[in-house]
């Protein structure tokens, strides 16, 4: 089975800082792949490069074998890569319903759409409810994100990313800043999404939960691939232990 997301030898530098050095990675269909590494390893830069925020200096990104390297972020999103952010980025002044609606109903291919001037809002209301229900937020549909706790805002971001009908969901530290009682249900949501057929790439520092959720881990260190494999192997890999704890 071909990978749903294939990244080949991607490099990215900012001035004199080489943030990514020929990083390669494959995400298989219906897989949760954990991307781990110490702070500054290049994980978020990798996310941003795959999502089109940064154009890679070298290397290619393929989504379902389609080369999307250097595409603008909105096109990559429409093609099926949804994402959340390390520091939550809700649209603060609009309701949860409208937050999700922003990402809903985009055409995968075309740019201009007559419906941009139509409302489209009523037509999608049921779908918005369904997406918020998936993450347990339906009852907060009319509230603005800033009235909700961080855990809810993180779930809203997942719901909003799902509105893109993504083939790949990229979650950037979804458990950061959450208490254990918020993490457990959120981990359940992520597991359910995988069961429903989604492929998920997960950056996370909460190693116990990563080990539990992911079938495979890829480790980055200093912008390079360190190793890749099942969690139980990665956990014992001396290179990983050294990267995290230092020599």
């Amino acid at each position: 089975m071909p990978p749903i997301l294939r990244v080949e030898n991607v490099a990215k530098s900012f001035g004199g800082v080489q943030a990514l050095r020929k990083v390669s990675l494959q995400l298989m269909p219906n897989e949760i792949l954990g991307l781990i590494g110490p702070n500054g390893a290049g994980k978020t830069t990798f996310f941003n490069t795959v999502c089109g925020v940064f154009r890679p200096d070298e290397g290619r990104v393929f989504l379902e074998e389609r080369d999307v390297t250097g595409w603008p972020a909105h096109r990559i999103a429409r093609m099926g890569i949804g994402r959340t952010f390390q520091i939550v980025k809700p649209f603060r002044n609009i309701s949860l319903e409208r937050n999700v609606l922003v990402a809903l109903g985009h055409d995968r291919i075309s740019g201009w759409r007559p419906s941009m001037l139509g409302t489209g809002l009523k037509a999608h209301r049921d779908e918005v409810r369904r997406l918020l229900r998936l993450v347990g937020l339906e009852e907060f549909i009319d509230q603005t994100p800033t009235t909700l706790p961080l855990g809810h805002q993180k779930r809203m971001e997942i719901s909003r990313a799902l509105a893109l009908r993504p083939k790949v969901l990229m979650l950037d530290e979804p458990f950061a800043g959450l208490s254990e009682e918020d993490i457990v249900p959120l981990a359940g949501v992520i597991k359910n999404l995988q069961r429903e057929g989604l492929s998920i790439l997960l950056i996370e520092h909460n190693i116990p939960h990563v080990m539990e959720l992911c079938s495979r881990l890829a480790v980055l260190n200093f912008g390079e691939n360190l190793c890749d494999g099942p969690p139980e192997i990665i956990r014992r890999d001396p290179r990983v232990i050294t990267a995290y704890l230092g020599s």
């Binding site: 999103a77 994402r83 980025k89 609009i94 409208r98 922003v102 740019g111 941009m116 409302t119």
Partner: protein
């Protein structure tokens, strides 16, 4: 009293028509689009030419809106877009420069003198309570109401408006959610410029004059209004426009102010900003 109230509302309506476009542009791009005043003047000239040839005010308004949409698009695409990554001062200075250039261009093309823009409507004036309202003033009120309703409907009821709101709040996140920022910005400029053009035509027929420098005072007054309303806030801009219109009218009429009415606008702005630095509808940082 009623007469002054109506005069204030009408002056405020004209200000709202002009300033709402400026605040729309600021809300999305965070650029102080001073050249918006040039679009306003361009609208007056295009409207005058179209009216001269067709004798139809509706066609004059359509021509002005269409012409200024193109002008607004060109400004956005070829002036501001390449500067978006620069410091904010860079597009601001470019905008001021473009405004001055346009003033001279209008002077070259239309002559340095005042041109009359006389439009005869169905009636001349009507009596309302103790006041008299001219047909032009009624037209300004109706046009302003329609334009503001259109803006409200687009923002609150359409996908485009939702994309505007998202882009105004966080452009990068909007992009990651599939919003085509270039389209959003283009629509934003087209609508803002169309409204400025309509404001230009309305101002011209209200004062029965078109001149190259008619945007000079407006350029800084609309800036004052946008700051007063809260940068980027459309409701704030409308309320601030009415406040400035009312202040000018009442202070000139009742307090025998020796200050010119344009100075009154800035006095009102300064007084309110002392109490509320973020403007009426702006968010405190």
């Amino acid at each position: 009293m009623v007469q002054q109230f109506l005069n204030g509302i009408i002056t405020g309506s004209l200000y709202a028509l002009i300033a709402v476009g400026l605040t729309m542009v600021y809300g999305i791009l965070r650029i102080l689009h001073i050249a918006h005043a040039a679009v306003f003047v361009g609208g007056a000239y295009i409207g005058l030419v179209a009216y001269t040839f067709t004798g139809s005010l509706v066609l004059a308004l359509i021509a002005a809106a269409a012409g200024c949409s193109v002008l607004g698009y060109l400004i956005q695409r070829y002036l501001y877009t390449p500067m978006l990554t620069e410091e904010r001062i860079v597009p601001l200075i470019a905008s001021v420069g473009l405004f001055i250039l346009c003033e001279d261009l209008f002077r070259l093309l239309g002559g340095p003198y005042i041109r009359a823009f006389k439009v005869d409507l169905w009636f001349e004036k009507i009596a309302f309570l103790e006041a008299v309202v001219t047909a032009h003033q009624v037209l300004i009120l109706i046009t302003t109401a329609v334009c503001l309703l259109v803006v409200y409907a687009v923002i609150s009821k359409t996908k485009l408006g939702l994309a505007w709101q998202a882009t105004a709040q966080d452009m990068d996140t909007a992009r990651a959610m599939g919003v085509n920022i270039r389209q959003v910005v283009t629509f934003n400029f087209i609508i803002a410029s169309s409204i400025a053009a309509i404001a230009g035509v309305m101002t011209a027929i209200n004062y029965n004059s078109v001149l190259p420098t008619m945007g000079s005072v407006i350029s800084y007054k609309m800036f004052a209004i946008v700051v007063l309303g809260g940068m980027g806030s459309i409701p704030g801009t409308v309320v601030a426009s009415l406040i400035i219109g009312m202040s000018e009218t009442f202070m000139s009429a009742y307090f025998g102010f020796i200050m010119p009415r344009d100075a009154i606008a800035f006095t009102a702005m300064i007084l309110i900003l002392i109490v509320r630095p973020q403007g009426l509808f702006g968010r405190a940082r």
